[in-house]
């Protein structure tokens, strides 16, 4: 029998997507829908002295205007993380202070978008403009403007938080003695690296629709990666009871971390709850760039010591992270810069990691593909190049000598976790040696490295880097699944896991099918609906296949036991007899007897000792097994204009054994283009007043 895993079955929603019939958030029509438009701050830092909405409210068709005066004021975080969140509670649905150009000031809800837009212009505002701060280094200075001077801003976990100094997270961690280590190095290189803002740029901008169901409960249909966190945080900041909130994630048009954030749901929930009408709010493309979330910029001071034999023995990494106006993911993205990068260099006996995440009056950072590792690997990758050059060794050899290997650990794993201490871990498998070898061949390294192949003013070169991430947050993340058998031997698979285009619905069905000896198409998959599916933390931390997949396997194994029990009863066999599940049959090989899944379903539902074959299971993990990758690039630099062209890019990834190789390839191909674009073409540029140009 052909295995259902380790081969590329078609993504189960892809035909519907290709035909334009799969439903995204906006693809339903509700009668009497109302529309929301946002008034955002023109100032980077200001107090609202007076806000008069009377003219706006009197426009025919306007149903409500929300300002800080008429919404609950509850300090919370928009970061869609587990509870207690490791991000500071420093955000309000609306506030009397604005903290960046693009911050929320007011919302108008009206019968049409046009009316809402007209009414926005009639809101009279008087601001007291405050001095802003844009550079994270300036934010730390003695007399810097304080961005969060509200009394109720707090961190709810016991980690450092001092908004009076604009610090929203800080960590100091070390192994060994960094000063001693650097003294023992043959060569020490010290440099500063700046990594810039970027947007996830999902093709579907953030959108949420809320409506009241037949029993007066509120349904929020939203483009989110974290439906269960949405429900909890909406309860927290609006006071609507959790049992009265249902969150549905339909198909969503890309996430990349940007939708691990509660950005629109509070507004539509509050308005629909008050007006008892469906309410829709979607960011315009411009609002998506300015007012949603971004990749956190960092300034990394990095000092690394290497011995002449190529062993990196000491690393001093000092990260200054700019979180913008609010502290979403301030601690965890920063910590990840250390925890996903430093363990790679596990021959280093002396390591120091220092993080300060600060508030500025600029757009807000959030989860973004790579989650801090992107930033630190840029710095470390460049520095490994510089170190190799200094000791006269091929950079490939330096990576080979230093990268963590199978069976090895790193003290950093335990030192740095996500909002608390990490978990000790040994590497179960590491395919980096093979990844490096394949990459060298494909890029033709030895014929190109340092050859400076020239065509007039254009010169070509190759470079490489090794990378490591993690899979789920150990002892924090939880995924769950439930399966029930139907009359015809098909199954419903319900998962809290959130498919954001990655294909997790498909992969999870493949895992269930493999366990139960049937086909992926035998599963009717339904995911991410807080009323119907079991809990899952959501799509982040590269956890779905590894963690939610393990929950599905456990669930399927429970169902398997029940199917075997019924089959034994039907065949009149002793409970100790061995039954195998294959091709939708339960088979007793010894006697050649077999019963089909359909017969088993009919028997268990209608005939004797009736019961529903079905199970639910949950999973947490004690490890975060890293995937590894070696990336190689050949670029052509125009020495006159400085223009860089990528001639060839080779990415070789050890992601473990892929459940669906084609979907795994798709993840890497998309990430590579995302990374190249970040490096070469994407950037936020601000003017002196903090406005994006």
């Amino acid at each position: 029998m052909v295995s259902e895993v380790f081969h590329s079955v078609n993504k189960i929603d892809s035909l519907g997507l290709a035909c334009g019939v799969e439903k995204f958030t906006d693809d339903i029509d509700l009668r009497d829908m109302l529309y929301v438009k946002m008034l955002s701050s023109p100032y980077a830092h200001a107090k609202i002295k007076n806000i008069d909405t009377s003219k706006a409210e009197s426009v025919p068709g306007v149903k409500a205007v929300l300002t800080y005066k008429n919404v609950p004021r509850v300090a919370h975080t928009t970061a869609g993380q587990g509870f207690p969140e490791p991000s500071p509670y420093d955000t309000y649905i609306l506030d009397s202070k604005v903290r960046f150009v693009g911050d929320r000031v007011a919302f108008v809800c009206a019968e049409t978008e046009k009316i809402a837009e007209q009414a926005l212009k009639l809101i009279n505002l008087e601001y007291e403009v405050l001095k802003p701060v844009f550079d994270p280094r300036d934010a730390l200075k003695e007399n810097a403007p304080i961005i969060h001077n509200e009394k109720d801003a707090k961190m709810i976990i016991p980690m450092f938080y001092d908004p009076t100094k604009n610090i929203c997270a800080a960590v100091n961690a070390s192994v060994g003695d960094i000063n001693k280590g650097l003294k023992e190095s043959d060569i020490v290189i010290e440099n500063e690296y700046e990594i810039h803002y970027a947007s996830h740029c999902c093709i579907e901008t953030h959108i949420a629709i809320a409506y009241i169901d037949e029993r007066g409960r509120i349904v929020i249909r939203t483009s989110t990666q974290v439906p269960f966190h949405v429900r909890r945080i909406i309860y927290q900041c609006t006071g609507i009871p959790i049992k009265d909130i249902r969150v549905i994630k339909p198909r969503i048009g890309g996430g990349f971390g940007g939708k691990q954030e509660i950005l629109l749901e509070d507004i539509v929930a509050l308005l629909a709850y008050r007006l008892r009408k469906p309410v829709k709010f979607q960011y315009t493309r411009q609002e998506e760039f300015v007012s949603s979330r971004t990749r956190h910029p960092q300034i990394i001071k990095l000092k690394t010591g290497i011995k002449k034999n190529g062993i990196i023995n000491a690393i001093d990494m000092d990260v200054l992270m700019n979180n913008g106006a609010y502290g979403a993911h301030a601690l965890t993205v920063g910590c990840n810069s250390g925890s996903k990068c430093l363990p790679m260099f596990n021959k280093a006996t002396d390591i120091r990691f220092q993080l300060k995440t600060v508030y500025t009056n600029l757009p807000v950072g959030g989860a973004y593909r790579g989650y801090g590792a992107t930033q630190s690997y840029f710095a470390m990758g460049v520095q490994v190049d510089e170190l190799s050059e200094a000791i006269g060794m091929d950079v490939v050899e330096v990576w080979r000598k230093n990268h963590i290997k199978e069976g090895e650990g790193s003290p950093v794993f335990q030192m740095l976790g996500e909002g608390r201490e990490g978990v000790e871990m040994k590497i179960g498998s590491c395919g980096l040696p093979e990844c490096i070898n394949i990459g060298l061949k494909k890029i033709d390294w030895y014929n190109k490295r340092r050859k400076k192949i020239r065509n007039k003013n254009k010169v070509r070169g190759v470079g490489m880097v090794c990378l490591m991430q993690g899979s789920s947050i150990p002892e924090i993340d939880m995924g769950a699944a439930s399966i029930k058998m139907n009359d015809d031997g098909s199954f419903n698979l319900l998962v809290g896991a959130t498919d954001l285009g990655t294909g997790s619905d498909t992969i999870l069905a493949q895992i269930a099918a493999e366990t139960l000896g049937c086909k992926t198409e035998d599963f009717i998959v339904y995911s991410s609906d807080t009323d119907i599916t079991p809990f899952d933390v959501g799509a982040y931390a590269s956890s779905t296949t590894y963690l939610s997949g393990a929950a599905v396997m456990d669930t399927a194994n429970k169902v398997k036991e029940q199917i075997i029990g019924v089959a034994l009863e039907m065949m009149g066999l002793n409970k100790k007899e061995v039954i195998e599940l294959q091709n939708r049959f339960a088979i007793h090989k010894k006697s050649g007897k077999k019963v089909s899944f359909r017969e088993i379903a009919y028997y268990s539902l209608y005939q004797k000792n009736q019961f529903q074959i079905g199970a639910i299971a949950s999973k947490i993990t004690h490890k975060s097994p890293p995937p590894f990758a070696a990336h190689f690039a050949e670029v052509e630099v125009d020495e006159e204009t400085g223009k860089v062209k990528v001639v060839k890019y080779v990415s070789v990834t050890d992601c473990g054994i892929p459940i669906n190789p084609r979907l795994a390839e798709g993840q890497v191909e998309g990430a590579v283009i995302n990374g190249i674009s970040y490096a070469l073409t994407e950037e936020y540029i601000f003017n002196k007043t903090g406005r994006i140009l």
Binding site: S8, N10, K11, D13, S14, L15, G16, L17, A18, C19, G20, V21, E22, K23, F24, D26, D27, D29, H200, C201, C202, I203, E204, T205, R251, I252, G253, G254, G255, F256, T284, R285, L500, G501, T502, G503, R662, L663, E665, G666, E669, G670, A671, V672, I673, N674
Partner: protein, 155 residues
């Protein structure tokens, strides 16, 4: 507001159009939800439809200006029961992740292959220049279009 005749997927429809209404909104309002809004500024290509078999950003076109012209949306190309070869190829090659950009891309690919049954990779890339995809890195999209070149050449 007055009624206009639009030919959508070879069917004559009488639809309400208000002055200033863009084609994207009129199509979505009338149930053609396969037409997606990505930017509203003609930058991303998610809202592309074929107008007399040529791709256009429906967010940049006044609905009233296309009366009696032929509009093809993704729904007009094929269905889940009877998909167009391009729709099948996109599924089989793994060219679809979130799928939000897919309708626009498939329509552009169709228009390309109708005029040029055997395009080179460069020609495919050039044709898809106005379509943004943030998930796939375009690799499998180009593979999917390429996989149909010969089929188109023969028919």
């Amino acid at each position: 507001m007055r009624k206009y005749s639009l030919i959508i997927n070879q069917e004559k429809k009488r639809v309400h159009i208000e002055p200033g209404d863009i084609l994207l909104d009129v199509l979505r309002r009338n149930g053609y939800k396969g037409v997606k809004r990505g930017c509203g500024e003609g930058e991303c290509g998610a809202c592309i439809v074929l107008l007399d078999n040529k791709p256009v950003n429906s967010c940049l076109i006044l609905a009233a200006s296309v009366e009696n012209r032929e509009i093809t949306t993704i729904e007009g190309l094929g269905s889940v029961d009877k998909p167009h070869p391009l729709q099948k190829a996109f599924v089989e090659k793994g060219a679809i992740q979130c799928g939000f950009c897919t309708p626009g891309i498939i329509l552009v690919a169709k228009s390309l292959l109708d005029c040029n049954p055997n395009p080179t990779e460069e020609e495919i890339k050039k044709a898809l220049d106005g379509n943004l995809c943030r998930c796939t890195g375009y690799v499998k999209i180009i593979e999917a279009v390429k996989s149909l070149c010969k089929i188109y050449g023969k028919t």
